[in-house]
Homo-oligomer: 341 residues x 2
Amino acid sequence: MRKRKGAGRPTISDVAAKAGVSTITVSRALRDPSKVSDHLRRKINNAVRKLNYVPHSHASALASTRSNIIGVIVPSLTNNVFADTLRAIYDELYQGAFQVQLGNSRYVAADEERLVRTFLSQGPSAMIVAGTDQTDATRELLLNAQCPVVQIMEVGDDPIDMMVGFSHFEGGKAAGMHLLKKGYKRIGFLGARMDPRSHRRLEGFVEAMRLGGRYEPDLVMTTTASSSVSLGSELIGQLRKRDPDLDAIFCNNDDLALGALFGCQKAGISVPDELGIVGFNDLEMMAASHPSLTSIRTDRYAIGKRAVEMIKAELEGNPPEEKVVDLGFELQERESTLRTR
Amino acid sequence: MRKRKGAGRPTISDVAAKAGVSTITVSRALRDPSKVSDHLRRKINNAVRKLNYVPHSHASALASTRSNIIGVIVPSLTNNVFADTLRAIYDELYQGAFQVQLGNSRYVAADEERLVRTFLSQGPSAMIVAGTDQTDATRELLLNAQCPVVQIMEVGDDPIDMMVGFSHFEGGKAAGMHLLKKGYKRIGFLGARMDPRSHRRLEGFVEAMRLGGRYEPDLVMTTTASSSVSLGSELIGQLRKRDPDLDAIFCNNDDLALGALFGCQKAGISVPDELGIVGFNDLEMMAASHPSLTSIRTDRYAIGKRAVEMIKAELEGNPPEEKVVDLGFELQERESTLRTR
DNA sequence: TTGTATGCGTTATCAA
DNA sequence: TTGATAACGCATACAA
């Protein structure tokens, strides 16, 4: 007789034998205890404990065509914004029955598509993807996926399934309106990487400038280079050279804003009197800097938490009424836009 | 006859049928093309393409008791240090045959143990865990694991299997020696969270102070609170209150160092003349701040890259000669310790 | 180099 | 409520 080695650990039949029941009863007792009588359930639980039985996830996934994996795809691993959201996802899943499979799309739509394909091929319990700018093919794959799908970080009117985030356009607009209200006249924009969400922030900013009659295309400085504090420091120097009368900037993100502050300090430019600065996301450091930095606060943690909550609800058969959840943002006004003259 | 639906996508038998061969030949052609004749391999590849066949990873894992998963366990998702390493791991695995399953132990050894158990139960291709402070049980599990195991971020003389990192003790010592060399007299230590690696940095720092005859236990200020820029700003204030003659500090990490700089700026204390500051890790922002901040540069990206390289080598049957790789660190001297008087 | 028969550990299906 | 049996899709063991 042929023999294979297997994983060498107890299987469901070992449990069944020890408990004196059939394997399917053990399976049921583990997945939906209400389907098994108290008597047998107790015996089974005992056997499980004694044998230290752990279900083999691959066997389960093969038989049921459904794994306990939640696929999460983000465009960056080093961006604090996604790190916070990821942390929330993990916290919310804590000791739950799910495993996270994490993909890094590096802001490349084709990479995202490849990852979606790979993840879906494993029959995930759910999918979480960042943003709303999937390729048509990705969207199609996700629309046909046999699991809940949540798009995070943004909101829009055409969700694949569910959505949690906020409006980057409105965030950018709020930043611009704030600078206008503070009386700044020549207001610039600093943007790095310029992914789709950054573009929408810029659009919101432009909208605000137009409303205030202060839109100056020359004051918009963007680059596809990835964002960093050093870059912010450089860019503010370039933009001031281009227009010495620049008196405020909205930065696409907080790294650039902090860098801009450093750049001003090096050049002896007073913030906020000579130059007002607004960042985006309100990372923790923004409140600690000197001067402290105004920013648009976004609740990345809440986004991750809510996404998992919606998935759990959906999986439990209580689909959330609102498919699109706008968690908003909040302007945190600080010293960098607090003019004293 | 009984029927089940399955996943509804092409299986290896579909490919086999279309190519006019047996399933096992397809299996071989896909896993080790050299074992199949050119002729059949071509036919099989064609069939794969036409059917858009993607192997079912769970079925494969079940049959072979080995999955294509690489389990990675880190203590924090939001700490830039691990983010850089993770990014390297993903980059190195790019479009490879592996999937990353990521676990967050939150600096809790028991959580790490639970994660190791879960991951090992899936028969991973390899495991990557942070640090060397696993529980005895975790260590035992990993020692018996049927796959390569790499401990990252640190080095030590007792690897479970392989190790890539650097000596935190030496890093802390180098920071302390640098401050002594610069002529600072009353040198403090600021530490948050104080995980095992932070403790070793502190030990190295203490060693340096002892060597210089300047060890002052009162100047060591630590907290279990998690690290942040704001905290650095607060702590430096507290420590200066405790000892007004304090003239330098080594911060457990860069967030604290930046916060300490901000705290000094708020209090009107000149850095580096009145207070020297050294951070740890040398995050990107350290070079951009004003004044720029001295730090111990560590190559987190290289650590992740090397870890995966070692795994690949091991898996391909070329076990690396050196089981423990020390990637070292480098003191980046900047303005924050550049006294002008 | 290729194929046959079977097992991997679980769950869906059907029957009692 | 419980059980017998047949899938799930692939890879191992063995034979040719």
